[in-house]
Subunit: 223 residues, 2 copies
């Protein structure tokens, strides 16, 4: 059995949970908050990041969400998520990096700092300027997604791919933290609404992170 | 013919140049400074990062250094650099991420800000506290590399891999900027010295970045 070390609002763990859900790979969750790591966690991942995926029977410890994604893509054939020609696969991976790095840096990361870590770890109020900038940055990223969806059925091309899962993971965390204003983004909103109804997504949407409450629309398919 | 959009001290471009060098793929360099992007650069890469790799004959534009690495690994068979079992490949990719993300965040990124961008872009002196912290962080990463090399012939296992290229790329930039103190790191120093003598590495070591001079030992194989 696979175990995922994660916390409920980790967007990189959500990407891997969506991937494992789509591929039908069962897993148990182990709660791990990187800001107060358990004693053994640094031995599992020198980088100190979640998710870490462990399989005791296979004696495997996998770290780094992109390395984990490639591993499941290589070892589990059903529901391929890094698919097509080498150029198609490069486009999928480019977009995964864009969401993992740029969207996270511009939107999800600042929201997690202001609305989660400051509340739970530092006992401080959020900085409203940082929150406003993160929401403004989100509009820029959603504009780019609207443009992609105007031109392709899915973000990276003709089929659902890891790029869609990476984007949905980041957006779901940003939306939980009240950072997404959907006005003017009908294309991406439609794409996300389809996503929210998938069986792989339902368990994530029903989870809550400690004292932090999501907005009313968060878990609604047409929200 | 391939073109690489890059600047001489971009560690991610260096990783791709080392990979293309090892695989024997010819390329031309196009200078691109992400802090003053050329007019067309945002059209090549929405993320705004170097390297971008272009092939006009193939009508291909590839962005994100890990996506580019996977592309060349999939399309050029010689000198495999993401090799072995799925678990071996996951270990290679975990280490590539550790150098691309953690080493860059802790060491190369701060050094580039203080010793390159502040000099060239902002016309400010470096912050000595940040420099000291980056050099201290470098010791921590080199300790981890010493430990890996004590246990394996190459960083990720029994053969040279993209993990070694990613590490050498980051270290070469940090070393150019005077951020590496080799004392107490004989294992990693020996590994790096072997690397510096490789034909793929020589062109990088002979380049200079504008007004910034590297230390005397920088380009010496036993330096």
């Amino acid at each position: 059995m696979w175990q995922i070390y994660q916390f409920p609002l980790c967007p990189f763990s959500r990407k891997i949970r969506l991937l494992m859900g789509e591929k039908g790979i069962a897993y148990d969750l182990v709660r791990e908050d990187p800001w107060t790591p358990s004693e053994m966690f640094p031995n599992l991942n020198a980088a100190g990041t979640t998710p870490v995926v462990v399989n005791e029977e296979k004696k495997l410890v996998l770290a780094d969400s992109r390395a984990i994604g490639e591993y499941f893509e290589e070892t589990v054939d059903n529901s391929p998520m890094i698919n097509g020609t080498a150029a198609n696969r490069a486009e999928i991976r480019r977009l995964v990096a864009l969401f993992d790095e740029n969207f996270y840096h511009d939107v999800t990361g600042p929201l997690l700092m202001e609305r989660m870590k400051k509340r739970i770890v530092y006992k401080q109020p959020p900085n409203s300027t940082v929150l406003r900038d993160a929401m403004k940055n989100a509009h820029g990223h959603l504009d780019y997604m609207d443009w992609l969806i105007d031109n392709r059925p899915w973000l990276a091309g003709s089929t659902m791919s890891l790029a869609d899962l990476a984007a949905a993971a980041q957006i779901s965390v940003a939306d939980y933290l009240g950072g997404i204003d959907w006005k003017g983004h009908e294309q991406t909103r439609g794409w996300y609404s389809v996503f929210k109804s998938r069986p792989s997504f339902r368990p994530l949407l029903s989870e809550r992170m400690d004292v932090i409450k999501p907005p009313a629309h968060y878990a609604l398919v047409d929200g």
